[in-house]
């Protein structure tokens, strides 16, 4: 770590995690996260107002935890980065207000950055600077996108995305069908370990010859799982939970990896990067590794804790912008709930 690399504090509040990370250049120093997930569980999904209230309460303590973990003081910080979109409007606004407040008080520049680009950039903290270009498969509860990334600070090109549910949303809904709880991702992953992924042939959405090559659809799959489970129950048979979980999960990760590899091949890109909460799924990581190897594509996957929402990824992107001499954002930037992925900085 070079001492002249920028020390950046990153703030993330786009959904239910209050994340504050600190990085120096591409070196991770702190990754403090306070989650309100337990408060949302009984509602079966994230409640925006509950998340926004939790962000306000968690912010200052989380900033201090990050500073302590990094062993730095506020005065050492060179710049503040914050997720300015996309995400839940009220939740984003808390993070943006905090970032501007700290930036103004410390007289440091603020960078309002794109949440999706931050999910891509976080891998720099583990595997060094990103190859250019790289292909990114971002899958979470709110997003499922294939992105061609020539420059994560300024040039991110969407190739395709989900036309209905995000992949993580499908995990949540199937977990509900199976009565397993919320959030569905880790629960399905665990349940699927004892199941047979070939037990039930669930549909692979948008994989026909005339379907959009890089778009995804998980809504039909979710309904197919519900119908299958309900038919079993009505016939008076027990539901083989592990087999349903494994077969559903396989249908999701099969389509995700197949399309990601195809995107790499058709665009002549040699590096695939996984990001987003669903990239913490063990089967997605394993199948992506297998298929990348067969296709001669190098795979980069951050550790699970950096795949889910966190402040370190925001700090990583902010640090890269500082490093590349990008101009900071203005103090009047809005929180933009529908910030396009092509807009890397507000």
């Amino acid at each position: 770590m070079a001492a002249d690399e920028p020390l950046v504090l990153g703030i993330e509040t786009s959904c239910d995690e209050t994340g504050v990370g600190i990085v120096r250049g591409t070196t991770l120093l702190a990754d403090a996260v306070a989650s309100s997930v337990d408060e949302h569980a009984r509602f079966g999904g994230v409640v925006p107002e509950v998340a926004s209230r939790a962000h306000l309460e968690a912010m200052v303590p989380t900033v201090h935890r990050a500073l302590k973990d990094a062993g730095v003081t506020m005065a050492d910080i060179d710049a503040i980065a914050v997720t300015s979109g996309p995400g839940l409007a009220g939740a984003l606004l808390v993070g943006v207000a905090a970032a501007k407040g700290y930036a103004m008080a410390l007289d440091k520049p603020v960078y309002g950055v794109n949440h999706l680009a931050a999910h891509v950039c976080v891998d720099q903290l583990e595997h060094g600077r990103l190859p250019e270009p790289c292909m990114a498969l971002l899958v979470s509860g709110g997003h499922s996108s294939l992105l061609l990334v020539p420059d994560v600070t300024s040039d991110v090109r969407p190739l395709g995305s989900t036309i209905d549910d995000a992949a993580g949303e499908a995990f949540d809904k199937v977990a509900r069908v199976l009565g397993l709880g919320f959030p569905g991702g880790p629960i399905i992953d665990r349940a699927a370990r004892d199941g047979d992924a070939d037990a039930i042939a669930f549909p692979r959405g948008l994989t026909g010859p005339r379907d959009a090559a890089y778009d995804f659809s998980f809504s039909g799959l979710k309904t197919a799982v519900a119908r299958w489970v309900e038919a079993r129950e009505r016939a008076g048979h027990p539901v083989p939970v592990a087999d349903v979980a494994a077969s559903f999960q396989e249908a999701v990760v099969d389509v995700l990896t197949r399309k990601a590899i195809r995107a790499c091949r058709e665009n002549g890109v040699e590096h695939l990067l996984l990001g987003g909460g669903v990239a913490a799924n063990s089967r997605l990581r394993a199948l992506a590794a297998e298929r990348c190897e067969a296709a001669g594509v190098s795979l980069r996957v951050p550790r699970p804790k950096l795949c889910t929402d966190n402040g370190a990824m925001v700090a990583a992107l902010g640090a890269e912008m500082v490093w590349r001499d990008r101009a900071p954002s203005m103090l009047d930037i809005p929180a933009d709930s529908s910030m396009p992925v092509t807009v890397t900085q507000a």
Binding site: R53, L56, G90, G101, Y102, R227, L331
Partner: protein
């Protein structure tokens, strides 16, 4: 003393700076949808207009509502971040108290109500004996449902103007002004008056329903 006051609990994004003897600058913009964009630039403007630096600030006074949540949180988060980074205290003041203070009313003029728009056909309100003395509230109710003793009083603020038929009379100021908030806060600091913690007065629980039991996708 250099006290920075601001409030985002009403459509006004309002900032003022008080040097201990008077309000030295201020910046108020009315835009219910852009609190997050306008507040910090407003603070920068107020400091610049007074020729003062943020490092000179000794206190922050922030309106803690009640008010619509999204805008309200902008003020509180900004106040907490500034207070934390500058190492100065953050004093919470009920937004309705600042509105009442701005009326300048004395006890001789009789009790009155300060009310702001709570949306959903309701008002945030409190009852006062004079400009400095709150007797009841803050609460959130339909103007028509507030007990007769309250609703029959003269009322101040945009919440009263919206439901003028429920009050004896309606007058300005319409929104809270940070200048009044600053003066009230300085007065309380000098007299050892009490402040609220910088916590939002939401007065309502989040809108969220626990979902009903699992609904099958296949019809029976």
């Amino acid at each position: 003393m250099l006290l920075l006051a601001f409030d985002t609990a009403t459509p006004a994004v309002t900032v003022a700076l008080h040097d201990g003897s008077r309000v030295v600058s201020g910046c108020t913009q009315i835009d219910a949808r852009r609190h997050g964009e306008l507040l910090v630039p407003g603070i920068v403007t107020a400091l610049a207009d007074a020729g003062r630096d943020r490092a000179e600030l000794s206190d922050i006074a922030v309106g803690v509502g009640p008010g619509p949540y999204t805008g309200l949180r902008v003020g509180l988060m900004t106040a907490r971040a500034l207070g934390d980074a500058l190492g100065i205290p953050v004093h919470g003041v009920c937004t309705l108290d600042a509105l009442a203070y701005a009326t300048g009313r004395t006890a001789d003029q009789g009790p009155f109500v300060a009310a702001t728009d709570a949306r959903r056909k309701e008002v945030y309100w409190a009852r006062y004996a004079d400009a400095r003395t709150r007797l009841e509230g803050p609460g959130v109710d339909r103007a028509a449902d507030i007990a007769d003793g309250v609703a029959g009083l003269p009322a101040f603020g945009a919440g009263a103007a919206l439901y003028a038929e429920s009050f004896a009379s309606v007058a300005g100021p319409e929104h809270v002004d940070a200048a009044a908030l600053a003066e009230l806060a300085v007065e309380r600091l000098k007299n050892g008056g009490e402040f609220l913690p910088p916590e939002p007065l939401y007065l309502r629980r989040p809108d969220a329903k626990v979902p009903a039991n699992y609904k099958p996708v296949t019809p029976n």
